[in-house]
């Protein structure tokens, strides 16, 4: 049967073109791949190749014709042995079946409020359901033990490595040096060089190797000496680890943990003092955790290692040496996606995470002295964000201050503010205030560095502002 040759689309956006030149005549034999015509688009002159062998039966569009729409028949190809009389039987264009329902506005976002709400509901339901999560009780008979955040993190890794041979730790100085911040202390001794692996200084490379190992079903814990260096690897984290499950229709999982200290250190200037929480929180497909206490550091790192998704686990160098009570058991797992009320209160909700909470906790005495009873929420997990916990608290206090070390623009506080505007607007008695790192690269000088970071005074000022004190 004769085959229609149609005006091809030569780029994703081409709708029409000029048939500049025919390179074949009627009656010519062509093989698949032979160039038969030249077409001019707005960008370039392109060649059209025959897609099948046969004889050119008819040139339907004359050369020089402008604005030939894509998919219009430009020529008819006859099979060997067919003559031009068969042309009458040629099927009418277009040969392609268009995708169902592809009106031009088919992919426009929903315009109505209802549709937007449905959209949000679908998003909540389909992404990560955290609504049923509950804080684990400390099992009876389990004592609390004073442990530093550093030790808690190490214990979490060790326990998970004992439980599952697929878990291994890889990164710079994690083995023989015992960790640049001593977080992996003792792991090499217990688990050996097969499972505690020193890498060269090569973040992009070992992040990618970790992703490949996770694709193959292992459970890598990739340590970045600091998250500042993970910028070298951010393509593998975002483009490979976060997106592959979606792009593969669920075929490939990436059960990997990227962990290390994040945020401001002390006196190391701009390249080594940056908070990446908002960066990673922006990416669907990633889980982002930023714990404050040692118990949460341990319980959440264990949950992260067991989780089938890529997890960004943001630690804080300043917190490593702080001591907290941790349940003395190897079965302490804290659910991902659940915020925690660190202190209940009536007058204002202070939402923070990680090292931001040190400013908050240190501000409580001043606030109490000013007669303000603050409720403090530790987000713990940034993505998925426990919106309900924040909303429920603000419904009670009617005021909110967010505290983070990261920059203000498009930060975690911005997101909390937007959530409260959308979902708790009628409960707000004052605008949400953000306490953040100042919008400057981190300076080296001690006095300037202090000015660049949030402070206890900043927290007190913001809380007083929203409580009109």
């Amino acid at each position: 049967m004769p085959t229609n040759i149609t005006m091809p689309a030569l780029s994703p956006t081409m709708e029409e073109g000029t048939l500049a030149k025919w390179l074949v005549s009627e009656g010519d034999s062509v093989a698949a791949g032979d160039v038969i015509a030249e077409i001019e688009t707005d960008k370039a002159t392109m060649e059209v190749e025959a897609v099948d062998e046969g004889v050119i039966g008819k040139l339907v569009v004359a050369e020089g014709t402008e604005a030939v729409p894509v998919n219009d028949v430009i020529a008819v190809l006859l099979e060997d042995g067919e003559d031009a009389a068969a042309l009458d039987a040629a099927p009418s264009p277009p040969a392609a079946t268009p995708p169902a329902d592809t009106g031009p506005n088919d992919h426009a976002p929903p315009a109505t409020q209802d549709a937007a709400a449905q959209d949000a509901a679908a998003q909540d339901a389909a992404a990560l359901d955290t609504s049923t999560l509950v804080e684990p009780d400390i099992p009876s008979g389990v004592a609390l033990k004073s442990v530093t955040v550093r030790e808690a993190l190490r214990d979490a890794m060790a326990e998970e490595m004992r439980a599952d041979d697929a878990v291994f730790v890889i990164g710079e100085e994690v083995a023989e040096y015992q960790g640049a911040y001593k977080v992996t202390q003792g792991l090499l001794e217990e688990f050996g060089a097969r499972r505690v692996i020193d890498t060269p200084i090569t973040e992009h490379g070992f992040a990618g190797i970790g992703v490949g190992a996770a694709f193959a079903g292992l459970r890598p814990v990739v340590e970045f000496m600091t998250f500042n260096f993970a910028m070298q690897a951010i393509d593998q984290i975002v483009n490979s680890a976060a997106k592959t499950r979606y792009m593969s229709g669920g075929e490939i999982s990436c059960p990997i943990v990227f962990r290390g200290p994040n945020g401001a250190a002390a006196r190391v200037a701009a390249q080594h003092s940056q908070d990446y929480t908002a960066w990673y929180a922006h990416v669907p497909g990633l889980i982002v955790i930023a714990p404050y206490s040692a118990a949460d550091a341990k319980g959440l790192l264990k949950a992260a290692i067991r989780d089938p998704n890529p997890v960004i686990f943001l630690e804080n160098e300043v917190l490593y040496g702080k001591t907290f009570d941790v349940p003395d058991t190897d079965d302490w797992v804290v659910p991902i996606g659940k915020a925690k009320v660190l202190k209940p209160g009536r007058d204002v909700t202070i939402v923070s995470h990680s090292h931001g909470l040190t400013y908050v906790m240190d501000a409580l005495a001043d606030l109490e002295a000013a007669g303000i009873d603050a409720e403090v929420i530790d987000l713990r997990t940034i993505r998925p964000l426990d919106k309900q916990a924040v909303i429920a608290s603000v419904q009670k206090t009617n005021r909110c201050v967010t505290v983070e070390e990261g920059w203000s623009i498009c930060g975690i506080g911005s997101e909390i503010s937007a959530i409260l505007m959308q979902d708790a607007f009628d409960y707000l008695d004052a605008p949400v205030m953000r306490v953040t790192g100042k919008d400057v690269p981190m300076p080296y000088a001690a006095n300037l560095e202090k000015l660049a970071l949030p402070s206890v005074a900043d927290v007190v000022t913001a809380v007083k502002a929203v409580t009109y004190k």
Binding site: G205, S240, G250, I252
Partner: protein
């Protein structure tokens, strides 16, 4: 078999279970002292293919070519959207490498990936339906031309960022070594990707830890429109592993028999615990970099010359006819059968419905808090 006794202490022990002994042709019997010398001493196998292998390779390559021709056609009709990179001209590379792999081995490649999927035995219908963005596609329409995967068939994508698949493929090999399962991973990338920094980060660790990975450089001469000569200070890419002590070899990537032979040696090299190996496949793509490439950076004569004199499929076809393994009529029949497979795939790809709107929100996360 230990390699050169220089492996780091942190080495996950490379696999050796399935290894069979490589025949070495060292005159003195002494061990050569560089990886390249050791590789060079490995005796080459017989590069000629048996009748059965030849006919199978012909069929496999023909399927890729016809599939890609149809893909180009459907792109032209607007049924396939976005970026689309055809493999026409390079068929012998993946076909020959696949012939050297064993069940359970893995491959990974860039975005010029349709041929690799077909070679690994993925269903042409599922591949084509992914190209059209339909529910019946391998990624249910959410990946497109550049992103398809099949763990079952050992195909790990399908990656859109130039060079990113090289560390990931090295990670697949890491997992094989970690599990000591004797499997090999093949990471395919173009000569353009061979200039990416992360490739060398991966090379370093692969050799340091003796990972069983075959780096297959598909050197088709042009990174988009930039010729190798205009982009590479050292154009012999098989030498790119030298400073990591990774041996390499240049292979005629248009000759499926040569590709298979070199790949067999490479796979054995990896399985025996010698670490990574680089095969530079000299190949050629007939089409543009992507569908919207006007190909003004090379002459038509250059393309025509390769097609006429060194086409991977025609060369095998000639061998078949010369050996009398099949006649013109048999080959025509075979061609017809391949065309039918492609037509059925094209039909399926246009009949399969678009994904349901709910699919927008699925497969972002695995269910929280548990193993998959």
């Amino acid at each position: 078999m230990a390699a050169r006794g220089t492996a780091s202490k942190s080495t996950p022990k490379a696999a050796s279970k399935k290894a069979s002994k490589t025949t070495r042709a060292t005159a003195s019997g002494a061990r050569p002292d560089t990886a390249q010398a050791l590789w060079d001493s490995v005796k080459r196998g017989d590069a000629s293919l048996s009748e059965g292998d030849t006919l199978q390779a012909y069929k496999d390559m023909l399927l890729i070519r016809r599939f890609e021709e149809r893909t180009g056609q459907m792109y032209g009709m607007g049924v396939i959207g976005g970026f689309c990179h055809l493999y026409i001209g390079q068929e012998a590379v993946v076909t020959g490498v696949k012939m050297a792999l064993e069940e359970g081995d893995q491959i990974i490649t860039s975005y010029r990936d349709h041929g690799h999927m077909l070679a690994m035995g993925m269903d042409p219908k599922g591949v084509m339906a992914e190209l059209t963005g339909r529910e019946g596609g391998y990624s249910r329409g959410k990946g497109g031309s550049m992103h398809m995967f099949s763990v079952d068939k050992g195909f790990f994508g399908g990656h859109g960022i130039v060079g990113a698949q090289v560390p990931i493929g090295t990670g697949l090999a890491f997992a094989n070594a970690y599990r000591d399962n004797g499997q090999v991973a093949a990471a395919f990338f173009g000569e353009g990707a061979s200039n990416q920094g992360q490739v060398y980060e991966a090379f370093n660790m692969a050799e340091l830890w003796k990972l069983p990975v075959i780096y297959v450089i598909e050197n088709n001469g042009y990174a988009m429109g930039t010729s190798l000569q205009r982009s590479a200070a050292e154009t012999h890419l098989y030498k790119r592993g030298r400073s990591f002590n990774i041996p390499g070899e240049e292979v005629d990537g248009m000759d499926v028999a040569q590709v298979r032979e070199a790949s067999m040696r490479a796979a054995r090299w990896c399985r025996e615990g010698n670490g990574p190996i680089i095969l530079e496949m000299k190949t050629y793509r007939y089409r543009g970099h992507s569908m919207s490439d006007p190909a003004k950076y090379r002459s038509k004569d250059e393309v025509q010359k390769v097609r006429a004199e060194h086409d991977p499929i025609d060369m095998v076809r000639d061998r078949i006819l010369k050996a009398g393994w099949a006649g013109e009529d048999d080959l025509k029949k075979m061609d017809r059968a391949v065309k039918d497979v492609v037509s059925a795939a094209a039909e399926f790809a246009q009949e399969s419905p678009e994904p349901q709107a709910e699919e927008l929100w699925t497969d972002i996360y695995a269910p929280l808090g548990g193993h998959d």
